[in-house]
C-alpha cells in the first residue's frame, strides 16, 4: 500500500464539492446542494478510514510526493502529504466531526438564505483544514492555515446583511494576520537555519543541533510558531476574535471555532514538539499563556448571558488547557484533549444551535429556561457534553483533562492548583448555562419546537462520543508521542480534579436552581469586579484605545489627509493644473491672426540663424 498515491483524494473531494456548490449551487435544488456537500465529506471520511486501515499501525510515517512546487537554489519545496500518528488523529477528528456537522447544518440552515453559498464555504474549509493536517512541510501547512482563515472569515461574515457579522469577520481575519506574521517569520528562520521546510528534514536537523549552542535560534523559532498558534487558537493576547466569531451560523461555530480550526495551533505545537522540547523558555511561555488564557476566559464565561458567548469563552479556556499540556511536554495529552474537546464542544455548540433554532433565533439565556421538557433530545445530548466538559468521571472530558492536569502537576505545583480551580470554574459556568437554559420556568415568548432528525442525529452520535470517545481514542492518541512518564499513583490528584468539577456543578446548582436571585446579589456585592469581568476585562476597549484608534487616527491625519490628499492628490492634480495653465497662456498665441503667425515664424527663423551663428561663432 505504500506505493499508492492516494492521500490527495482526501482534501480534493470537499474541494470539488465546494466548486460545484459555489459555481452551480444557486441553480440546484437544496436537496442536491446538501447531497453534494455531505457526500463529498463522507467520501473523504471513508477514504480516510480506508487509507488508515491499509496503513496499519504507522510505525513509520507514510509520505507521498506529488510535484515540486518551488525550486529556488538549494531550497526545494514540494507538494507533499504525510500521514503519521498525529495526522491520523487529526484526520479522524476533522472528517468525522466535519461530516456530522455538515449533516446537522442541512437541518439548521434550512430556512436561511444563501444555502448553497454556506455549503460551498463549509466544504472549502474542509479542503483547507485537511490540507493543513496532511501537509508535510511548513509552507503547505501555511497554505491550509491561511485557507482555513479565509473560510473562517467568509463564514463568520456569512450573514451579509448584518454589520456586526462583517465586523466580526474582519476582526477575526485581522487578528489572525498578527499570528500569521509570526508564523511566516518562523518559516523564514527555519529556512535560514535548516535550509528546508520539510518536516522530516527539519526535525531531524533540529534533533541533532546541540542545544547549548543553538538554544537561542530554536527558542526564537518556537516562540514565533507559538505566536501563529496564539492567533489561530485564540490564546492571550490574540483571543479577542473568537468570541466575536460567534456571529457566524452555529454549525460554523461548532466546526471551525470549536472543534477543528482553532485546534490547528495545538496541532502545530505538537507537530513541532522536537523544536519545542529543545526550547525550554518557549515551553514555559506556552504554559503560562495557556494557563492565563484558561483562567481569564473561564472567568469571563461565568458572567456572559449569550449562550454562544459562554461556549465561545469556554472554547478559549479549553484551548488554554491544551496549550498547558503542550507546555508540560504532554503533547499527546494536548491532542487527546483536542479530540475529546472536539466531541463535547461540538455537542455544546450544536445543542446551543438547536436551542436557538427552537427559539427562532433567541440567544439570551435570560429568556430561556425550562426547556428540558420541550426539546428533550437536545437536552439529553447536551447533558452528556455538559458532564464531559465538567470532568465527571466516566465521561471522556474527564480522561483528557485529568491527564493534562497531572502532566502540569509534574511541571509545577502552583500551575496545577490554578488549573484545578479553572476546571472548577469551567464546570460552574457550563452548569450555569445548562440550568439557566433547561431548568426553572420558561421565560421567553417564542414557541419552542424540537429540531429535525438531521440535527438531533449528529447530536446523538457526538453526544455518545463525548461519553465514550475518550476511551476509544485514548490508546490511538498515545501512540503519538513521547510517552508520559507514569510516575506512580495519581489517584489523589484525580480525586482533587474530579472534586473541583463536582464542586463547580454543585455551586452552580446552588446558585441557579435552589437560590435563584442569590447570584444577582452576589454580582451586586462584587460590583466593579463583576462589571469588569462582565465587560470581558475591557480587553477589546483596551486594544481599541491602544492600537485601533491610534492607527485609525494616524491613517486619517497622516496617511489620508496628509499623504494621500496633499502629496498624491496634490501631485496628480498639480500636473493636470500646470498643463492647463500653460495651455491657457499658450492659447493666446493662436489668435488666427496670420501676420502674428508670420512674425513668430520670422522671429523663430532669426533665432535659429543666430543660434547657429553663436554655436559655430568661435571659429570665425
Amino acid at each position: 500500500m505504500t506505493e499508492s498515491q492516494s492521500l490527495w483524494l482526501i482534501p480534493i473531494l470537499p474541494l470539488i464539492g465546494a466548486a460545484i456548490n459555489g459555481f452551480l449551487g444557486r441553480r440546484l435544488p437544496k436537496m442536491a446542494v446538501s447531497a453534494i456537500a455531505i457526500l463529498t465529506v463522507l467520501g473523504s471520511f471513508l477514504w480516510v478510514m480506508k487509507t488508515l486501515s491499509a496503513l496499519g499501525d504507522l510505525n513509520t510515517p507514510h509520505a507521498e510526493h506529488y510535484f515540486t512546487w518551488i525550486q529556488s537554489g538549494p531550497l526545494e519545496i514540494g507538494v507533499d502529504f504525510m500521514v503519521d500518528r498525529l495526522t491520523r488523529i487529526m484526520l479522524l477528528i476533522v472528517t468525522g466531526v466535519g461530516l456530522l456537522i455538515h449533516i446537522y447544518a442541512v437541518g439548521y440552515m434550512d430556512h436561511e438564505e444563501g444555502f448553497s453559498r454556506f455549503f460551498s464555504y463549509l466544504n472549502l474549509f474542509m479542503f483547507f483544514m485537511l490540507t493543513l493536517v496532511l501537509a508535510k512541510n511548513f509552507l503547505l501547512v501555511f497554505v491550509g492555515w491561511e485557507g482555513v482563515g479565509l473560510a473562517s472569515y467568509l463564514l463568520i461574515g456569512f450573514y451579509l446583511k448584518e454589520k456586526f457579522a462583517g465586523d466580526a469577520g474582519k476582526k477575526a481575519f485581522i487578528v489572525n494576520r498578527i499570528g500569521d506574521f509570526g508564523f511566516s517569520l518562523a518559516m523564514f528562520l527555519i529556512v535560514i537555519t535548516f535550509g528546508t521546510l520539510d518536516f522530516t528534514k527539519v526535525f531531524e536537523a533540529a534533533a541533532k543541533l546541540p542545544v547549548e549552542a543553538h538554544a537561542g535560534i530554536l527558542t526564537a523559532i518556537a516562540l514565533l510558531l507559538f505566536v501563529g498558534a496564539c492567533g489561530k487558537s485564540a490564546q492571550m493576547p490574540l483571543y479577542v476574535w473568537l468570541p466575536d466569531a460567534m456571529a457566524g451560523p452555529t454549525p460554523v461555530s461548532a466546526l471551525i471555532h470549536a472543534a477543528t480550526m482553532v485546534t490547528a495551533g495545538v496541532y502545530i505545537v505538537a507537530r513541532c514538539s522536537v523544536i519545542f522540547d529543545r526550547a525550554p523558555i518557549a515551553l514555559d511561555v506556552v504554559s503560562y499563556v495557556g494557563l492565563l488564557t484558561a483562567v481569564v476566559a473561564a472567568t469571563i464565561g461565568v458572567t456572559q448571558y449569550d449562550i454562544k458567548k459562554v461556549f465561545a469563552y469556554s472554547t478559549v479556556s479549553q484551548l488554554g488547557f491544551m496549550f498547558m499540556a503542550c507546555g508540560a511536554k504532554a503533547y499527546s495529552s494536548g491532542i487527546f484533549h483536542v479530540a475529546t474537546h472536539a466531541f463535547f464542544k461540538a455537542v455544546l455548540f450544536l445543542g446551543a444551535g438547536s436551542v436557538i433554532h427552537a427559539l427562532h433565533g433567541e440567544q439570551d439565556m435570560r429568556k430561556m429556561g425550562g426547556l428540558r421538557s420541550k426539546i428533550p433530545q437536545t437536552f439529553i445530548t447536551l447533558c452528556l457534553a455538559w458532564l464531559a466538559i465538567s470532568g465527571v468521571p466516566g465521561f471522556s472530558g474527564a480522561v483528557s483533562k485529568d491527564e493534562i492536569l497531572i502532566a502540569v502537576h509534574g511541571k509545577s505545583e502552583w500551575m496545577f492548583w490554578v488549573g484545578v480551580v479553572t476546571a472548577g470554574i469551567t464546570a460552574f459556568y457550563v452548569s450555569r448555562a445548562m440550568f439557566m437554559t433547561f431548568f426553572g420556568e420558561y421565560r421567553g415568548k417564542a414557541h419552542p419546537h424540537e429540531s429535525p432528525l438531521s440535527m438531533t442525529g449528529p447530536l446523538w452520535i457526538l453526544g455518545l462520543l463525548s461519553v465514550g470517545g475518550g476511551y476509544l481514542m485514548r490508546d490511538l492518541v498515545h501512540t503519538i508521542g513521547p510517552e508520559i512518564a507514569d510516575n506512580g499513583d495519581h489517584s489523589s490528584l484525580e480525586f482533587i480534579i474530579v472534586g473541583a468539577g463536582l464542586a463547580g456543578i454543585a455551586l452552580a446548582a446552588f446558585l441557579y436552581l435552589l437560590n435563584r436571585g442569590l447570584s444577582q446579589s452576589i454580582a451586586r456585592a462584587l460590583g466593579p469586579v463583576y462589571r469588569l469581568i462582565y465587560d470581558k476585562y475591557r480587553v477589546d476597549e483596551f486594544y481599541d484605545a491602544l492600537i485601533v484608534h491610534p492607527i485609525q487616527a494616524g491613517s486619517a491625519s497622516i496617511l489620508w489627509k496628509g499623504f494621500d490628499r496633499l502629496i498624491i492628490d496634490g501631485l496628480v492634480n498639480g500636473i493636470g493644473n500646470t498643463i492647463g495653465n500653460v495651455g491657457t497662456v499658450l492659447r493666446r498665441a493662436q489668435g488666427g491672426h496670420i501676420p502674428s503667425y508670420a512674425t513668430w515664424i520670422a522671429l523663430g527663423a532669426a533665432a535659429v540663424l543666430i543660434g547657429f551663428q553663436l554655436m559655430s561663432g568661435g571659429a570665425r
Partner: protein
Amino acid sequence: MMLPNAVPVSWYLVLSAILFSLGVAGFLMRRNIITVFMCIELMLNAVNLSFVAFSYELKKIDGQLFTFFVMVVAAAEAAVGLAIILTVFRHRMSLEIDDVSSLKN
C-alpha cells in the same frame, strides 16, 4: 573665366537680403491679401537671386536648377493662391487679411 571688374558675389547677396527683408516686412505689415501675396513672390525671387549668384560664383549648375524648381512652385502657388483669394473675396467681399482670421483657438 572670372571677368575683371566683375560685380563681386557679396553685392548680389546684399541685394538679395534687402529684397527678402522688404518681402518679410511687407508680408508682416500690409493688410491687403494681394499685397501680402506679392510680398511672398518677392521673397521667393530674392532667394532665386542668391541661388543664381552662388551658381555663377561656384561654377555649379545646381543653383540654377533650384531656381527653376522655385519658379515652378511659385507659379503653382500663384494659381492656387489667387483662386483662394478669389473665393475668399466672393464670400466676404473683403481683401483685408484681418477679416479671414477664423482659423484660431
